[in-house]
């Protein structure tokens, strides 16, 4: 195998992929809800990415590329097939409702970390994953669009709905499980 000269100075797969290990694992674990499955998923992702690295274009977004591999692997896994639900009316970008967003500061303040984690875990996968990509991975809309292979307009409307769903869940959990802490 001959290594083309220009790639000698380009980043190696290891240099690009290993710094993302912790984040990818966290993301995989959130998707699968299971340690063993998360490990399998991460391992499969690294193996596939390494094999396909020659097709990755240096200079383009490696993070979005490898997250996309992870997510596609998840979707084709048994758990993935079971959990991925379609979301109605997704393509309609004008669905952002004009409802009054009442300030729920107090509500969110009452939600401790554990409650938020439970609520996140209860969200349907498309909502959970987009919130994680946006808030935890701090991806731009463009990166999210690349990772999820959806248009930016859909990123915005799905984020909006995901946040609304999370708020609803939090409200339920706080009202339902009000305990004397």
């Amino acid at each position: 195998m001959k290594v083309p000269e220009e790639s000698v100075s380009a980043a190696t797969f290891e240099e690009l992929a290993m710094p993302l290990f912790d984040q990818l694992y966290n993301f995989a674990r959130w998707l699968t809800h299971d340690t063993a499955e998360a490990e399998d998923l991460v391992q499969e992702t690294y193996a596939k990415a390494l094999r396909g690295f020659s097709s990755f274009q240096q200079g383009t977004n490696f993070r979005a590329w490898i997250y996309r591999i992870l997510r596609n692997s998840f979707l084709s896994s048994r758990t993935g097939l079971r959990t991925m639900v379609t979301i109605d009316g997704e393509a309609d970008e004008n669905l952002l409702p004009a409802e009054n967003t009442t300030p729920e500061r107090i509500l969110i303040e009452q939600a401790d970390r554990e409650t938020v984690q439970q609520a996140l875990a209860d969200l349907p996968v498309p909502f959970r994953e987009i919130l994680l990509l946006c808030e935890v991975e701090e991806m731009s809309y463009q990166e999210i669009a690349e990772t999820l292979a959806i248009p930016i307009g859909t990123v915005m409307s799905r984020l909006f709905r995901a946040r609304k769903a999370l708020r609803d869940l939090l409200r339920e959990k706080i009202k339902g499980g009000r305990h004397g802490v």
Partner: protein, 255 residues
């Protein structure tokens, strides 16, 4: 509703896009100006920021076992390249090394300053959010001997609070807070009708440790921070630097 422009059907996503840093600069500056004037929209924004932050904190949840990590690391480790054209490589090595070092330094400096900024703005947010809350403190007391024991069992460390007699400061109370997933104490002091927040964290999280010591002016708040006995202290408030320094001194001497 007065804010049809930002909450109406056409633009309900604008505020979210703004907070996600995705609004174009022109619109962002208009919306930014609006937020400074409109209490209702500002409250909305605060709520959304808090939701974002709690997801961010809650989302960083799982870490892989060291064994698994090293298994993956081994599987992707680059193999040594075959020696083709080594003359060229020998020349290239010092240049490449220099390039890598300078890139690493640049990257580190950039990342550090970004991280420092993030710590300060997060603390400023915590300060503002606490004051805006209906219950800024969970333990309401001017007595340090009440406030200090209240934290026992709630945070993984203990600290000393200063005697305030003879100073202009009054202790209002405290609450448990989180910075970069690390629990800490948030105390609120008052001086001449101004509230000043004191944050105390264990000095181990890289987030809290990354802010260099000394006074800073972050987002129009004065911030002083230092490390003492393994604890990281931050004093944040909109009072003058002299008052911040005075309170910092009281805290430093409280041992």
């Amino acid at each position: 509703m007065a804010c049809e422009q930002w909450t109406g059907k056409q633009s309900a996503g604008k505020l979210a896009a703004y907070l996600d840093g995705e609004l174009d600069p022109a619109e962002a500056s208009v919306l930014g100006a609006h937020l400074r004037e409109c209490a209702a929209c500002a409250a909305d924004a605060l709520e959304q920021v808090q939701l974002k932050r709690s997801v961010q904190m809650a989302g960083k949840r799982y870490s892989a076992s060291p064994e698994f990590r090293s298994r993956i690391a081994k599987s992707v480790a680059s193999k040594p390249r075959r020696q083709t054209g080594w003359h060229w490589q020998i020349l290239a090595v010092p240049a490449l090394l220099l390039l890598i070092i300078s890139m690493a330094v640049n990257f580190y400096v950039g990342r550090e300053s970004a991280r420092r900024q993030r710590v300060y703005s997060e603390l400023a947010d915590l300060h503002v959010a606490a004051l805006a809350s209906a219950t800024p403190v969970d333990v309401v007391s001017t007595d340090r001997h009440t406030v200090k024991p209240w934290f026992q069992g709630k945070i993984p460390f203990s600290f000393n609070l200063p005697e305030l007699q003879g100073s202009d400061f009054t202790l209002l109370g405290g609450r448990v807070t989180y910075l970069a997933q690390t629990p800490g104490a948030h105390l609120i002091y008052q001086i001449r009708k101004h509230e000043v927040s004191v944050f105390i964290f264990q000095n181990r999280g890289e987030e809290t440790a990354s802010a260099s010591s000394g006074p800073v002016n972050a987002l129009s708040f004065n911030v002083e921070n230092w490390t003492q006995n393994g604890l990281r202290y931050f004093v944040v408030g909109d009072v003058g630097a002299a008052d911040i320094e005075a309170l910092s001194k009281l805290l430093r001497d409280a041992h």
